[in-house]
Amino acid sequence: MNNPLRKRFGEQILLMFGREPKRPEEGDIAPAAQKIHFFKQGNRDFIAEKKHARAHAVKKNTWRNRRWATLITANLLFVLSYWLDVQLLEGSLTASRFVGFHLIDLNSALQVMLAHKHIIVNLLIGTGTILVGWALLGGRTFCSWVCPYHLLAEWAEKLHLWLAEKKLVSDAPIDRRLRVVFWLIFALLALGTGYTVYEAISPTGILSRALIYGPGLALLWVIALLFFEVFFSRRAWCRYACPIGLTYGVVGIVSPLRVKYTLEGCFHEGDCRKVCLVPHVLDTVIKGRAVDTEVPIGPDCTRCGLCVDTCPSGSLKFDVKGLSKLL
């Protein structure tokens, strides 16, 4: 990894903790990237090419469809295992057993240990499996590929955007540092009350249990959240509140699987940032900001692939670090 990228790597982590993206200093941009930035400035051919490509862009949903299928299958597996009694995937998203292997959600395990104030040895194996698994698969990949709330929130977002287009609602962004504050509050609450307070309101846990063990009144809270997201603030829970997202984001720091941005063909029109759940991770696509010709997207990215589907120039692609070199 060369210097501009290394510096950006650190900044992407701060970005996840709520800092606003900044324009990089001239000196932080690799010469090769600077050259491309310069080349694109006022280049008529390039602008014409971009107009043409955008006019002929066909809407793809490849990754979204794969992702929805995976998310639904994973959650259905829980439900069917219980209802058909096949013991394939027992438990719920907080803790489960996949053909005998323990899988324990990191955030829940953390909460439990903080509340109990003991390292629960039984939990370590299951937590370790999940840690390694998600570290390999991208961390917040959990969010967009497994979390049942994500799917509902995605649909709520569509409704929000439709209403916004009709000027009936507007999105009011909230300070992203709030998520870190919530994370700390819930950690302290667990420590202080000796109870996993967060679990009582985790839409992820509530939905997972509702699917498997039947609906309950706790779903009202989930509905309230979705309501807030539709009418007041787009994707508010996942953007500004969910501690699970932050926990898995941290896991994703070391992940080899991520979306990679290639500066060369990018039109800088920003379609990707309009579909992204966490648009701050895509600050690099803004004109003049890419610090190198290829820039990996940071750990807060949920690897949902919406940007990959949307990008009219093919500048955003899924990538496994080191794999392309290997092949």
Binding site: G91, S108, A172, E199, A200, R209, I286
Partner: protein, 301 residues
Amino acid sequence: MSDDPKDSPSAAPEPAASSPAPRKPALTAAQRMSRERQQQARRRVLHTILLSGGVMGAALSGWLPLAYAQRQRLRPPGALDEKDFLASCIKCGQCVQVCPVNAIKLADLVDGFGVGAPYIAARDQACDFSCDAVQCILACPTGALTYHKPDFLKPRSGAGLAAKPVLKAKQKDPEPTLNLTERIGVARLTRPESCLALQGKGFKGQARGADFKGRMRYMEVDRWKPIPVADHPYDVPECDLCVRECPVAQAISIETVTLADGRQRRQPVVHEPCVGCGVCEMVCPVEQAAIEVVPREVWRA
């Protein structure tokens, strides 16, 4: 300039794009801009408060009822003491999944003790140990349900069982006991005035009526499959349903007791091996049950 309005501050290398630039011709535009910014900032604060308030309020509604819990509930067998149990249960429901009679339920918002925490409503469906091996403990990933408490958690005096309970259903097996070291609670004759045995009455019919959904394993019917209590009617000259159906050996018996005025009565008497599974409470045919399990009650001689 870029086509995306969001990108505009970064598009041209203008200094200090974030502060309102004091350029002469754009004064009115800048003023409009700043008013819009102000409004946006105000909305941002409002929404931050709304979201934070909502989240904290919801979190409190999940926790407060717990802090002020009046009603105690039966926890699944092998549960740690209440505080430790609530701290360590990860609310996965694996205990729910393995129970052959579906005795374990997960609490909802209004139950007042933490969304997703497992409990047993014995009157509706008791734990009858038809799983033979306290499967729920085996399933629990966190040790919130456990065969043996870790060293740093001492059993309360009277909560520990004197010996491993002998399961009547397994009495002929090489290993007839249940791996359970602490009781869930203790059964008590809380309403002696309504106990049929005490009134010298018998009982005929379905213990809890035709509509009762509860199930239980009856050894004489099927060793492995629990059947509805409604499918197993009784006809007994002296009511002893609680004693008859108790799955644990020597936990309860009908005894002749002498009252203070010298009169003699027959009544169920609970003994030390009672683990508090709640079967007696479930089958007791009078409404409300004459015998009940008191959650987390300890044995007193």
